[in-house]
């Protein structure tokens, strides 16, 4: 577990929520390693702690115990601004609800993460258009999310996740709101990205989604039960 080739390493990560006098443990000593260029699925029933695990891996939340290493850097004690920068530079998110910004066009949505990294406008537009071409949406650059189908929106979200050339893409039930045919198309896109060298972690409870992964990590009651 001390191997320096890991991309992400969790050591006995705990997350305890305090609600008044009641404490709830979402993660109770979870340990796992994810290596570069892997395609991993994290599976578990609802309430198993997989969303919390995903927030930890994605630098959205900090643990109450244990350590999280992203490229050998312990991120469990970092401040909010530093975490935001790490998210922007190293992690791409894909959500079940797509979470595109309704007032912005597809191109502007894809360019948004680069805005926060102070990439020049010209370069942002060029790269966003390139990424939308990669997900087969070059015809839809100036459409708003409301003018796109669910599958198209999720492809825009994927392009946005790739904007800052992240180390890893974290997808939380990325096909949960899509029909099975669209699901296949999106999963094929993930596989293509993985083949091109992007590390992918998908949180899901669907076997049809998980089977695309090279490795499945099971989580139950806040601990990893099989990797």
């Amino acid at each position: 577990m001390t191997d320096t080739s890991t991309l992400i390493r969790l050591e006995d990560v705990e997350k305890i929520y305090q609600m008044g006098d009641v404490t709830a443990s979402a993660l109770a000593g979870a340990s796992l390693s994810i290596y570069p260029k892997e395609f991993v699925a994290i599976m578990g029933p609802s309430g198993s702690g997989k969303s919390t695990l995903m927030n930890m891996v994605g630098c959205l939340d900090t643990p109450t115990g244990g350590k999280i290493f992203l490229e050998q850097q312990d991120i469990s004690k970092l401040g909010e601004s530093r975490l935001a920068q790490l998210r922007g530079q190293k992690i791409g998110f894909v959500f079940q609800q797509f979470n595109l910004i309704g007032t912005l066009t597809a191109l502007e949505n894809v360019a948004l993460p680069m805005l926060f990294q102070s990439v020049s406008q010209h370069e942002r537009r060029r790269r966003a258009a390139e990424l939308l071409e990669l997900v087969d949406l070059s015809e839809r650059l100036h459409h708003r999310p409301s003018e796109l189908s669910g599958g198209q929106q999720q492809r825009v979200a994927l392009a946005r996740a790739l904007a800052n050339d992240p180390e890893v893409i974290l997808a939380d039930e990325p096909t949960g709101n899509l029909d099975s045919k669209t699901e296949e198309a999106i999963m094929a896109l993930f596989q293509k990205l993985n083949k091109d060298g992007t590390t992918i972690i998908i949180v899901t409870h669907e076997k049809t989604v998980a089977r695309h992964a090279q490795r499945i990590i099971h989580i139950q009651d806040g601990v990893i039960v099989g990797a």
Partner: protein, 406 residues
């Protein structure tokens, strides 16, 4: 960077079109009121200074000061006398001094008769010029009264144009009390409503027609010798008159004033009035600012999820604060620009309406570039200040909670 952030912020403002406009209107109203009132107040002060400036700073006016607040010529005051005039004439630095009489008088033309003021002028040219200059009197039509004009008068602009059903004409006759006199001249508007509304007549016939005491004056005007400091002469006159009446400083039954003093005190009054009025208008700006704050709070709530997304894709607290502050600054600045345009329009409208109603050009709008730019900067500032709390609220959102927000 600012351009792109501004672009995103402007997009959000446009997206909520109706709400944005309502918010902007809140700022517009306050800004328009403030700009209009400041420019009119400034214009009024300039106009008044110019009016007094035309009289010249080298004249000193002595008036009785009574226990009451009656107008000059009423009985509540202790009159000045020929002795006073003699003393003023002897004061070092005084070139020339004359006395004037003011009195209510009944004027009749045909059916209509009204009460107004008669104002005396001296007969000799030099003294007459002093009175005319000190009151800003200029002949519009006809001529001024002079030596030998016992039954001739000059009428003020308002008396001639507005008081009677037909405007008074040069060479027509009117009745003063019981005496028929001829109008030989009509004055231009002076800006002083009392003069515009009066009958100008030589001193001797006025005392006769209106039975005014030989020895009494209502006003004494002194012309100062060139190169002498007006305030020194003013103080000397006051001292001599106190000595004559045997009173201490503060107990005087007279007042000695120079135009500069009058301008200064009038300006002070106008400044205070203006400040109060602008202060009241500024309250509506405050309300407008609260409107911006309300809109921005609503935006933060409505866009909680969006804030979560921005944080997930790498937006830091300060970047998100910047986005929201830009949004509120846009609301403030838009309100400022429209408000300034509307305010300028309002003040110009007031000037035109004022001229139409009073016929005088006293009401002016003083619109300066610093005022306009300052107003716009201030409106943006209000927008930013009102946006600070909502923006901090937005930036403080926990990304996990914000993403989960429905």
């Amino acid at each position: 960077m600012w351009k792109e952030y501004g672009h995103v912020a402007a997009r959000n403002v446009r997206q909520r079109r109706l709400r944005s406009w309502l918010t902007i209107i809140g700022i517009v109203i306050g800004m328009a009121a403030v700009v209009a009132l400041i420019s009119l107040g400034g214009g009024l002060r300039t106009a008044i200074s110019a009016q007094f400036g035309s009289i010249g700073a080298d004249k000193i006016t002595i008036t009785p000061k009574g226990p009451g607040f009656g107008p000059p010529g009423s009985f509540s005051t202790t009159k000045l006398t020929k002795d006073d005039l003699r003393i003023v004439r002897q004061v070092n630095g005084v070139d020339l001094a004359i006395g004037r009489v003011l009195s209510p008088v009944q004027v009749t033309d045909g059916e209509k008769s009204l009460f107004t003021f008669a104002v005396s002028v001296p007969a000799d040219r030099e003294s007459k010029k002093l009175v005319m200059d000190s009151l800003n009197m200029k002949i519009d039509r006809g001529r001024m009264v002079g030596k030998g004009d016992r039954l001739n008068v000059v009428v003020g602009h308002t008396v001639a144009e507005e008081e009677f059903s037909d405007p008074l004409q040069v060479r027509q006759t009117i009745t003063l009390q019981n005496t028929t006199v001829r109008v030989v001249g009509i004055l231009k508007p002076t800006g002083n409503f009392q003069i515009d509304d009066s009958i100008i007549i030589l001193e001797e016939p006025m005392r006769d027609f209106l039975s005014i005491n030989e020895r009494e004056y209502d006003v004494i005007v002194a012309q100062i010798l060139e190169g002498v400091e007006p305030s020194n002469v003013r103080d000397r006159i006051a001292r001599e008159l106190r000595n004559e009446r045997n009173v201490e400083v503060g107990e005087e039954s007279f007042e000695v004033s120079s135009p500069e003093q009058t301008i200064a005190s009038l300006n002070n009054i106008l400044l205070v009035v203006n400040a109060v009025v602008v202060g009241i208008a500024a309250i509506s700006l405050l309300v407008g600012g609260i409107g911006v704050m309300n809109t921005m709070y609503t935006a933060v709530l409505q866009r909680t999820r969006e804030i979560g997304v921005m944080k997930a894709v790498g937006g830091t607290r300060s970047q998100i604060i910047t986005l929201f502050l830009l949004e509120s600054a846009i609301l403030g600045a838009a309100g400022g620009v429209i408000g300034v345009v509307l305010g300028v329009g309002l003040s110009q409208g007031a000037v035109i309406a004022g001229q139409a109603a009073t016929g005088s050009a006293l009401l002016q709008a003083s619109i300066s570039l610093p005022l306009l730019l300052g107003a716009m900067v201030f409106a943006s500032f209000i927008g930013i200040v009102s946006g600070i709390w909502p923006a901090r609220q937005a930036a403080r959102q926990d990304p996990v909670d914000a993403l989960r927000y429905e």
